[in-house]
Amino acid sequence: MNNKIKIKINLNGEDITCSSGQTIKQAALEHGLDIPGLCNHPDFPPPANCRVCVVELKGCKNLVTSCSTKVCDGMVIRTDTARVKRSRNLNIELIFAEHIEKCPTCVRRYNCPLLELADKYKIEITGFKDRKGKRKIYKFANAVEIDGSQCIDCRNCLEACNTLQKINYLELRGKGINQEVVPVSEKSGFSFRRKQSKVDCIYCGQCALHCPVSAAQEQTHWPLVEQILKKKSPQPPFVKGGEKIVVAQFAPSVRVSIGEGFGVPHGKVMTGQIVAALKKLGFNYVFDVNFSADITTMVEAEELLARVKKGQDGPMFTSCCPAWIKYVESFRPDLIPNLTTSRSPQIHSAGIIKTYWAESMKINPKNIVVVSIMPCTAKKFEASRKELKVKGNWPVDYCLTVRELIFLIKKNKVDFNNLKPLQADNPLGGASGAAAIYGASGGVMESALRTAEYLTQTAQDAVCRNLVNSEKANEKFCNTTIEFKDVRGLAGVKKAELMLGEKKFRVAVVNGIGNIKPVLDNLKDYDYVEVMACPGGCIGGGGQPIPTTETIRKKRIAALYKIDGKSKIRRAHENQGAIEVLVWLKKQGKLEHEVLHTKYKKRS
């Protein structure tokens, strides 16, 4: 099918040219006319159920939905007649009536399509009586929630959970006005009919990312962060009374997406602005998780080589993605031995802050509060895992999504775009290019391979075992690959083969948990597998700005690889600061394992 055939249509009395295969809505947008709509997310086929984008089509008795109707040559379309206005406004008003406004504390407050439409068409948002006041809020661990009282019944969350991610944790119950999205674990019907559901939520948050309003959303922790910021120490690192040293740390992918919340073009790198904004919000110190991504890479690469040497059974899996970890624990506990024991960058970073950094700053770790800014909802759950405690302290105290940070910045009227960029605090500041690409699907794999290949070529099994010799090793170190392009991009499963020393090494990257099946069905074919639960990796994470679409994912990814390409050092093991931390940890006995490694458990 050739979608590029040019055809002519008439839009509001004006003849325009457009491409066949386009919908009326797409063609109109290309000509500067934005037809409003609420239910259509570009990731999915249009459900056409909100009926807000209706237009008049000559020859059609009824109005048609412009999101689902394709253009045909000679079509005569009107979007401005009384009929269209009546139905569009009435349908918007009807939708308002099923959405209980919780605007003051809603993270979507500054990015709300309902408020925008109300303003644009001057529609009263409280014309009808609320009918969903008694709907429940379903909370999934501490990560995600579905608030039935805000749902506008577009069903995108179902599409995200069941078709995109193939988790099937959400289902639609009831019909008509009683229709409700509920988790499958929610009991219904007679007790003798109840079946114990084996399906569990992995907290990926794709439901929230695809929700046009904020019915599916992260469980917000910003109010707690606001509270704790009131207790921050005015003279860090000194604390007195109940004061706290409040520390922020932000993930690799946040820097390329946060700008979108402030109207900055997609994929603009805003590292300096993030640091400045966090400082403006009152954080005492701000650290870049990229630093610890280099730690993660080294720990993981060493483990990979050790496993290969031992001749392990089946591939080693990455563990940076907490939704993937939850997936394994819930659905495939038999694969737990195959997960790398390395902690994720978020937990590495926070653990190092509360040990290495605390000691160097002479701060009692109990007085440090670490707040993560993550592209992810599952990271909230990860932060609450007991097994990750270091010396009895939670490494991460609070975890915010990018959306929550954008909300906080706007709520506090910080002029993000005009902030003077600041550097992240040292000594946990510098990072390699390999850390930056952690945010893209295939990035963790590529970073680990860069270091694994170096270790193999220099015949080392650990990055800092022979630290004294490492300078020499680096000199000797010759022409290893930097860019593993086969593992990049947005394909569902990416495969590559390479030589590590004498051994042929087979790797796979799963881009989005919905694509996991073919890899799980053929585990024998791989030695190392990266899995990111969200399409595109963390840059498409459940905590990222809305909208997140295929085009936007591509732009965010491109920005990360650009950072990598421009970096002075591009391999994790070249990060001297990180090496220093590893060497320090090595001298701490049991603490080294506590900070760097973790364990997993089966969940029923």
């Binding site: 109005l63 009435l90 639609l172 019909k175 008509g176």
Partner: protein
């Protein structure tokens, strides 16, 4: 002459209520490209006031099945389904299964609680596939992308009965009329389709002697006509329900419709899910907001995702236009008598 030509010459139209030309639908499925094709006979019959599909299956099951087989042969279809509501299955499954032995046709029982929408063409397909019973977004139509994405012919069982008659040369341009309500001879009749409603009522000795109105084409989705409007043939499903004007409580009649549509909405689209609910709310409120009521009706007619949403408009509007003035008139007449 092949069956399509025969159907065309007989001018068969679908008997499920839509009145779509049968030959056009068959040709669409025939011409659609697909590895497999399916045939469905629809006897969901979920609308109050309708019993004719059950009547036909009880008396002419052989012909219905013959019609299904003709369709399967014509299309080279892989399989046929006879989609029955629960009551018909309970009553007739033994007999039907005996007739379906060694055929490519199997009975599929309409899911319990799937309601009125469970009979909508694409909802039927979802039901057979095991999905949520609700209509699909069209296009694509079931003729090109039906069961499991394959071209599928869905017709009412009366249509297949007619196809069988057309094939054997016995079709006499008749149709089935469900006659019920305030009349002595409630029954299903097979009579010429060209007859006017008045003639049908008179010939079956059901024409009332009191002031009345009728609902034609289904008690929930049909058109309300007064006694002066009966010189036309019955449209839609061919049901005629007689109501005595004196006995009718107009608020209750409208409320029953609004209750029905609010309860039967599948929940997919805004104008029906929210609109039908608000329509009821507007009508039952202390003071009916008629401007809003009319806007909601227009919106249902013009923006609903399927025919269910727009169906509420015809009975309500035709009742207001054709019958309501008569109630008023007859009430005045009665009052005049007393003066």
């Amino acid at each position: 002459m092949d069956i399509l030509e025969k159907i065309k010459q007989a001018n068969l139209v679908g008997r499920g209520g839509g009145g779509f030309p049968v030959a056009v639908k068959w040709a669409m499925v025939k011409n659609a490209i697909g590895e497999k094709k399916f045939v469905v006979g629809n006897a969901a019959e979920g609308e109050p006031g309708l019993v004719k599909d059950g009547y036909i299956l009880e008396r002419h099951a052989d012909k219905v099945i013959d019609g299904l087989k003709i369709a399967i042969n014509f299309l080279g279809a892989e399989k046929g389904y006879l989609y029955l509501n629960h009551a018909y299955n309970k009553k007739l499954s033994k007999k039907l299964n005996a007739l379906l032995k060694d055929s490519q046709i199997e009975i599929f029982v309409k899911p319990i609680k799937s309601g009125y929408i469970g009979g909508e063409e694409s909802a039927v397909l979802n039901a057979i596939e095991g999905g949520r019973v609700e209509p699909r977004l069209k296009p694509p139509f079931s003729a090109t992308r039906g069961l499991w994405g394959f071209p599928t012919l869905v017709n009412n069982v009366e249509t297949y009965y007619n196809v069988s008659l057309v094939n054997s040369g016995h079709y006499e341009n008749k149709r089935f009329y469900d006659i019920a309500g305030d009349c002595p001879n409630e029954e299903v009749y097979e009579l010429p389709e060209s007859w006017t409603i008045e003639k049908v009522l008179k010939q079956t000795k059901n024409y009332p002697k009191f002031p009345f109105f009728v609902l034609v084409g289904g008690d929930m989705s049909g058109e309300a006509l007064n006694s002066r409007q009966l010189k036309r043939p019955a449209a839609g499903t061919g049901s005629i329900t007689v109501h005595s004007l004196a006995k009718s409580d107009y608020r209750k009649i409208i409320k029953d419709w609004l209750d029905f549509y609010a309860a039967e909405s599948c929940g997919q689209c805004t104008p029906c899910r929210e609109g039908a609910y608000r329509l009821r709310e507007a009508f039952l409120g202390e003071k009916t907001d008629w401007a809003l009521f009319n806007n909601l009706l227009d919106n249902l007619a013009e923006t609903s995702l399927c025919a269910l949403g727009s169906s509420v408009v015809l009975p309500v509007r035709s009742f207001m236009k054709n019958v309501y003035p008569q109630i008023y008139e007859s009430a005045t007449n009665i009052t005049n008598k007393f003066i």
